[in-house]
């Protein structure tokens, strides 16, 4: 924000240009316009800015280019887009973080409600059927008509399956114990 103090400084600076005499090393108007419009490389631009400090006449040329809108007319797309403005204000990062947190929450919620897996509840042995290998074995046993053998095979498979069937094993050791509100509501044996 410009203060009145700055305006006084600017006025004095401009007043100096009114009585200044152009020098031999002054850049031509075209180059100054291109510098204001940022069409020149950075080093050449800075050289002209440095020159305007010591040459009031060229400071005036710079100011005239500004007033004619050299920047606006050359760089129409300088105005930041909505995305850029959001990024600059930090709102985009906040929104992204909120979306990530929400997605993680949804994943946790889904996992939480899926913890009491239905196959374990209905029949501990069915948990084994999740893999193709155990499914094929069960089908073979059932096809042979040996129901008792098939059941024993199921139980053996459950015992051999690490990790996944802990709940099933616990259920078989303690058939009366129920776990989780859904099973209690269902009053399953």
């Amino acid at each position: 924000v410009r203060s009145r103090n700055d305006d006084a400084l600017s006025a004095a600076l401009w007043a100096a240009s009114e009585t200044s005499r152009p020098r031999d090393d002054c850049p031509d108007a075209e180059r100054t316009w291109r510098a204001v419009a940022e069409e020149l490389p950075l080093d050449e631009r800075l050289a002209i800015v440095d020159h305007t400090v010591v040459c009031p006449a060229c400071a005036e040329v710079w100011r005239l280019a500004m007033e004619l809108g050299a920047r606006a007319r050359t760089k129409v797309a300088e105005r930041p887009s909505n995305i850029s403005r959001l990024r600059a204000s930090g709102a985009l990062e906040l929104a992204s973080a909120a979306v990530v947190v929400f997605a993680i929450g949804v994943l946790f919620a889904v996992q939480w409600f899926r913890t009491p897996a239905d196959p374990v509840v209905r029949d501990p042995g069915l948990a084994v059927l999740q893999s193709d290998q155990h499914r094929q074995r069960a089908e073979a046993l059932l096809a042979s008509g040996d129901t008792a053998g098939a059941l024993a095979a199921y139980r053996a498979a459950v015992e051999e399956t690490p990790g996944r069937c802990d709940a099933a094993r616990r259920h078989r050791r303690h058939p009366g114990r129920r776990r989780g509100p859904r099973r209690r509501r269902a009053r399953l044996p």
């Binding site: 700055d6 600076l13 800075l46 100011r63």
Partner: protein
């Protein structure tokens, strides 16, 4: 005025524009002249305002000559027209300043530019004006550039873009540079 090759009248076989198209060219020239005159009046210094119409005529002629020379193959946007206006105006200012410096006695021209009406006020004004230049020269290079652009009227964003740095750095350079400038002026007994 956005002048394209479609705006220009078609050239005849021998290169001259047919008479029927002369009216169209005049219409374009008139439209261009009014736009140029408006731009000239906007930025023309007061002491040069009597010649604003002449300058508008020169700038218009320059754009049209260029358009005809390229046979309308080049697009002349508003940016080009305004750039030409700037060039014509600067050339005229420089030419007249050189002539005036020779014609007038030393110091005579300062009287007209002083905002104060009395000699004391004028003396203070000149001292202030010269002190700013002296103090600007003493600033660190990066701060001096930022302060110069700030006093020219550029925003912080524009200053950063022109100096090739980000907004925060441009703001910092401008702030510190202005503080240094005021400190320097105060040390010389000058308060803006």
């Amino acid at each position: 005025v956005h002048l394209t090759r479609h705006d220009l009248p078609p050239a005849s076989v021998d290169g001259a524009h047919p008479t029927a198209s002369a009216t169209a060219l005049e219409t374009i020239a008139e439209r261009l002249r009014s736009d140029v005159a408006r731009a000239i009046r906007k930025i023309c210094p007061r002491w040069l305002s009597d010649h604003a119409d002449d300058l508008a005529q020169i700038a218009t002629a320059r754009v049209l000559e260029r358009a005809i020379a390229t046979d309308g193959q080049t697009e002349f946007s508003q940016g080009y027209v305004y750039r030409t206006v700037h060039s014509v105006l600067v050339d005229e200012i420089r030419k007249r300043r050189r002539l005036r410096e020779i014609a007038m006695e030393p110091g005579q021209e300062h009287v007209a530019t002083s905002p104060q009406g009395n000699p004391e006020g004028y003396a203070r004004w000149v001292e202030f004006r010269d002190a700013i230049r002296r103090c600007l020269a003493k600033l660190l290079e990066s701060r001096r550039r930022a302060v110069m652009l700030h006093l020219q009227g550029h925003s912080v964003v524009e200053t950063g873009s022109l100096l090739g740095c980000d907004r925060r750095k441009a703001e910092n350079l401008t702030y510190r540079g202005l503080a240094d400038l005021r400190s320097c002026l105060s040390s010389q007994g000058i308060e803006p």
